[in-house]
Each structure stands twice: as structure tokens, then as C-alpha cells.
């Protein structure tokens, strides 16, 4: 189910350890994509808005995890579309609204979206959101910026280097050399376009373990789709063979 592997695949490298939770990435994203504000209420956390939304393509997830003797660690995780190489949303989209760019970004063509919401069911990371008009929205890795040699808005504004953009292989190499032992997304779903560099267990930060496309979507793509063509082609061919080899029903032979 893999999409084309591009040698110059680009990626965002997220280093949660370097994130200070300033949320400049959220603001920059809204600014570039001209997304409206979302009215929320204080629910006891800095995390705002509480989840990805049609007007929030990225968010910082704040989590407080117990740490040794009664200490609490406050962890920041920048979330957005993972830009999977093997993207379930692109695979299942019946209208071609979701597609992959040359850089490996999963972008969307709003006009083509038919609002079926199949992408929501096929995404292993719960990323796509629908706007008020029933059209898909999600992070598109600023495909318009990166196609013109610029960094994605969130990366451009990040003050600490927690977000980096560049050649995917180079980013992963550098992170490994810097001592990050776990690169989340290096190989998941044939490699994610949002790679996370950790020195600890990704689970601690709330990363999903063993992300996968729903098995019914994989089955549909690998077997049912080809079978529909083989089935149609097969019976048309069989009819042609029957017509030539045995031939149509003839009236006279009926009287035997």
C-alpha cells in the first residue's frame, strides 16, 4: 500500500525535549493558513485548544506525568499530521481530495472533498477534521511554502529548534548523532513525515504505540479493489470465450 518513495523526501523533526511549550507554532500556523480563533474554556491545562480542530492544524499537547519521588514532569508534544508515507487517508479517499506532494506532504484539495469522512476512519493518528461546511482540513506541511523553498510556518517560528524542517534522511541522521535513541516514525507506516526524536519512551509523551491503518482498509485496498477489476474483466473475457468457443443458443438444436 506504499505510496511512491521519494528520495528527496522532506520531513518535520520534532524534538519534544527542546520544546518550551510557547505555542508560537500554533499561532504561526493559524496566521499562515488564515484560520479563525476557537472559543474554548479553561479546563485546567495549558493545552488550548484541547484537540486538533478544523481551525487548529497543530497543537501542543501538555501532559503531567509522575516522576520519581512525588515530582511531576511537565511534557510538551507538538502534534500535527504525521504525513505517513503509507497514508491511510490518501488510500481510502474516494474523490482524490487527499494527495501526496513531491516533498512527501499529505495535502488536500478542498474543492474535491465530498465530505465522506472515510479519511477520519483510516487515519491511525486521528488527524483529519471537518470544517463547518463538511470539508476536510488538516496540516498540509505548508505545501505551498515548502514548494517554494520556505520552511513550514510552525518550523519557521519555533524559537528553540524543537521543530526542524529539511531533508528527511539528513534530519534523522543528525538526530541520531545528537544522541536521540528513539526516532518515532522512522519506519512506521513506511516512514512518517513528522519524525519525533526522543531519548525516552515515546509512550511517556503520549505517542501512539504501533500505529496502523485499520485492517479492513488494508484488506479493501489490497484485495477488493483489484478483485473488482479482475472480476469484471474475467466475466467479460469468459463471455467472449463462450461466444466464440460454444456460441449462442441456436433454435434448431433445441428441437433435438
Amino acid at each position: 500500500m506504499a505510496n511512491d518513495t521519494s528520495k528527496n523526501r522532506k520531513a518535520i523533526l520534532v524534538t519534544p525535549e527542546a520544546c518550551i511549550g510557547c505555542r508560537a507554532c500554533q499561532v504561526a500556523c493559524k496566521s499562515w493558513n488564515q484560520l479563525p480563533a476557537i472559543k474554548t474554556t479553561n479546563n485546567g491545562t495549558y493545552q488550548n485548544p484541547p484537540d486538533l480542530a478544523s481551525a487548529a492544524y497543530n497543537i501542543i499537547q501538555y501532559s503531567e506525568v509522575p516522576f520519581k519521588e512525588n515530582l511531576v514532569r511537565w511534557l510538551f508534544l507538538s502534534r500535527r499530521c504525521m504525513h505517513c508515507e503509507d497514508a491511510g487517508c490518501v488510500t481510502i479517499c474516494p474523490s482524490g481530495a487527499l494527495y501526496k506532494t513531491a516533498e512527501g506532504a499529505v495535502a488536500f484539495d478542498r474543492d474535491k472533498c465530498i465530505g465522506c469522512k472515510l479519511c477520519v476512519t483510516a487515519c491511525p493518528f486521528d488527524v483529519p477534521r471537518y470544517d463547518g461546511e463538511g470539508k476536510v482540513t488538516k496540516c498540509h506541511l505548508c505545501f505551498d511554502r515548502i514548494a517554494n523553498g520556505m520552511d513550514p510556518a510552525c518550523v519557521k517560528t519555533c524559537p528553540t529548534g524543537a521543530l526542524k524542517y529539511g531533508d528527511r534522511a539528513e534530519l534523522i541522521d543528525t538526530a541520531k548523532k545528537e544522541g536521540y535513541t528513539t526516532l518515532y516514525g522512522e519506519n512506521d507506516l513506511h516512514g512518517l513525515g513528522s519524525v519525533y526524536a526522543f531519548k525516552e519512551e515515546p509512550k511517556l509523551y503520549g505517542m501512539k504505540e504501533n500505529p496502523a491503518i485499520p485492517s479492513s482498509v488494508v484488506f479493501w485496498h489490497n484485495y477488493l479493489k483489484p478483485l473488482s477489476l479482475i472480476g469484471l474483466g474475467g466475466v467479460v473475457a469468459a463471455a467472449a470465450v463462450h461466444y466464440l468457443a460454444i456460441g449462442p443458443h441456436k433454435e434448431k438444436e433445441e428441437e433435438v
Binding site: 474535491k112 473488482s228 469484471l232 460454444i246
Partner: protein, 201 residues
């Protein structure tokens, strides 16, 4: 002119072509969704309009399928010894030399075809409505999606067989579904038990 006998009522003929037309339209647009055929969606002025055509075409198909039950459902459940013999000689389709047992109004192949269309049709209609109206529920949406596609495969295999057998393989059959009438002599040969039952033989 040869004496004719009515095999299909006017409403049956009309409904058959509504069912057939909507089925083919749904099949073509279905393939267009499955394989992103832009040359098909552009015929409809875009993929959003094609979705509307597909959805409402599905409603037409669904109503037409329900209406067709009054014509075929009862017959489709009745099989006799000749029907089993018909299967043994493959309906005479694999050799013109075998003796095909006397048939009623429909042969068992047609009856099983109808049952397949009813079962796959109900499945594809319910799953279609599932994707249309229950898309907020991810598990219902995925279930509907897979059922819709499995039923689609039954259609793409069964329908072309039906079209071939109703046209090229059996010359004269198409005329029956266009006019509702068939020559009495031919009906006596092909459907002796039906002609006896209606008292014309």
C-alpha cells in the same frame, strides 16, 4: 405474424430498465470513486456532483429493486426436479448437444441471479445509506465501506453475465424485455411448463 404471448407486464419492463439504468450508472460512478477516474467525474461536472448522482441514483435503484420483488421474488424461491437437472447440464450452455429439461417461466440460473441481486442489492443499499447517514460513527462507516465494496464485486461479476446471457448468448431475449412479448411457438419450446400453466398449450 406469429402469435405472441405476454411474458413481462409493462410495469415490469419499465421497472427492469430503471433498475438496469440506475445499476449501470452506479457501477460506472462506483468505479470512478474506486480508481479516481477523473474523466468520469468531469462528465458530471466534478466529483461532488458525481457523489450526489451516485447517492440519489442509489435511492432510485433501491426503490426499483424493492418494486421488482413483486415480479420475481416468488418464482426465485421455487425449484423443482427439472431445475436440479438444469444445473446438471449447465443449462445447455456448455454444449448444444445436451437435453435441457423443460422449464417454467424462469430457469434456475435466472432465479439464482435474481436472489444474488436481491441479497447484494440489499447489502449495497443498506451500506450505502450507512455511509451516507452514519458517517459520524467510525466503526459503522468502516463496516458500511467494506460491505458496500464486497457487494459491488458481486454486481460487477453477476451483471455482465446477465447482460451477455440476455443478449448475445440468447438471440431474441432482449426483445422480450423491450416489448414484454415473445412468440408463442418459441415460448412453448423454451418455457413449456409456464405455457401449460397459463393454459395455452
Amino acid at each position: 405474424m406469429a402469435e405472441m404471448v405476454r411474458k413481462s407486464s409493462v410495469d415490469e419492463v419499465v421497472n427492469h430498465w430503471i433498475l438496469a439504468g440506475s445499476c449501470i450508472l452506479l457501477g460506472i460512478t462506483g468505479f470512478a470513486f474506486l480508481f479516481h477516474l477523473e474523466w468520469v467525474s468531469s462528465l458530471f461536472g466534478g466529483v461532488n456532483t458525481m457523489k450526489e448522482v451516485h447517492n440519489w441514483g442509489g435511492v432510485v435503484f433501491c426503490l426499483s429493486l424493492l418494486y421488482s420483488m413483486r415480479h420475481y421474488l416468488k418464482d426465485a424461491f421455487e425449484y423443482d426436479a427439472d431445475d436440479w437437472q438444469w444445473f446438471k447440464v449447465a443449462g445447455g450452455y456448455l454444449s448444444h448437444k445436451v437435453k435441457v429439461p423443460p422449464m417454467g417461466k424462469y430457469n434456475p440460473g435466472q432465479k439464482l441471479y435474481y436472489l444474488a441481486i436481491v441479497v447484494a442489492g440489499i447489502a449495497i443499499a443498506l451500506s450505502g445509506f450507512g455511509m451516507w447517514f452514519l458517517k459520524e460513527d467510525a466503526s459503522m462507516l468502516l463496516l458500511s465501506h467494506i460491505v458496500h465494496n464486497v457487494a459491488f464485486i458481486i454486481f460487477v461479476i453477476a451483471v455482465p453475465v446477465h447482460i451477455y446471457l440476455g443478449t448475445l448468448a440468447n438471440p431474441g431475449t432482449l426483445q422480450i424485455m423491450l416489448t414484454g412479448m415473445m412468440p408463442l411457438n418459441e415460448a412453448k419450446k423454451k418455457h413449456p411448463k409456464w405455457i401449460k400453466a397459463v393454459g395455452k398449450m
